[in-house]
Symmetry: C2
Subunit: 204 residues, 2 copies
Amino acid sequence: MGKVLRGRSGRRRGAPDTKGEILAAARDVFGERGYDGASVRAIAAAAGVDPALVHHYFGTKEKLFLAAMEIPFDPAIIADAIAAGSSGAGIGERAIRTFLGVWGQPSGRAPMLALLRSAMQHETAARLLRQFVTRAILGRVLVAFEGVPDGALRAEAMVSHLIGLAIIRYVVKLEPIASVSDEELIRLVAPVLQRYYDDAVEQS
Amino acid sequence: MGKVLRGRSGRRRGAPDTKGEILAAARDVFGERGYDGASVRAIAAAAGVDPALVHHYFGTKEKLFLAAMEIPFDPAIIADAIAAGSSGAGIGERAIRTFLGVWGQPSGRAPMLALLRSAMQHETAARLLRQFVTRAILGRVLVAFEGVPDGALRAEAMVSHLIGLAIIRYVVKLEPIASVSDEELIRLVAPVLQRYYDDAVEQS
DNA sequence: CGCATTATTCATCACATGATGAATTCCGCT
DNA sequence: AGCGGAATTCATCATGTGATGAATAATGCG
């Protein structure tokens, strides 16, 4: 496994999307090991390519990371799914449902894990995660909390719970949460999340 | 800053608690950078000591980590504070209150951060965190959830939210959660957490 | 075809890391 | 005073890292 013996130097035949393969490999490896833990060599190996090629395309490891974090799904869609017509009713369930949808499949989980893991080690990545959460997610979810007292705070608290769930379920893999079905988790968490909205509305 | 010029080799005068200083430095640096990011050299420098001394005392970096993670506060006390006579009433507020108490002061925050950060990079540390949460915290909190349907699940969900809060507040430092006062956060989060208990009880 | 451009690998650098073993200095005990 | 052992540092190794520059091979345009 690993290193592909690809014979001698020089350009390969055909028009393989090598840049794309490197990006995919980068997302995988960054996701598994975080920014510092993922070596350029390991990424290159996972892409079946010489390490120098990575630098050829992306210049530096940091630029590769940034390129790899160009989220492969549209955050707007997600945020809109959560906000859903800027109504607060049912926002708890929509939030965790969308969340599990993204994390449930590897194509969504890998970059999220990469971002999360890396944000724990590197201030650069932390800034990136902050931006991502702020602009791409919170900014839109906030429309549902418009006019709600402590809206920003409450929206963030919701997001923080989801992040905590991601860590327990997908990183630390603590049982029984790691193995419980999506639906069961939704049934458990949705009403609790919902309170972040309901609490504020009923007191206003 | 950094490297203390301490002249020549050999034993130092007096009986300084060097081992303890190394442990403290280790907790700091592991906390700031996680397991992989914290180099033995950096820890040694922070302790004002030669790197070889670290190995002399602890043999290997991993053993040092394990030693540093021997939690400096008693998890039993914390867990008991949360469980509080195995009553579920008010458990939400007690949980977040105790949580903020630990994370509020550096002596508690450092090892927790170290554990969290490292768990994101290293399976060894993830296992450690799993153990810690399971035995030291969950095991005792569960008495409050005794007989409650999905007790384990609900207790873990509570913990996951707290972990998420820790990350948003102390690692990613997302505003406004990062700056809000403890009391305000308690007012916001406590009733939501409480629902993990109340929901189960009222349906049984 | 011919030739510049692009894709790819190889060899190599400077540097940081974890670890080890020998040398030096001090302490405690007799 | 003397001696063994513990504490401390120094010099050093093997390894892995990100990065660079030159060499080689295929492509595509004229």
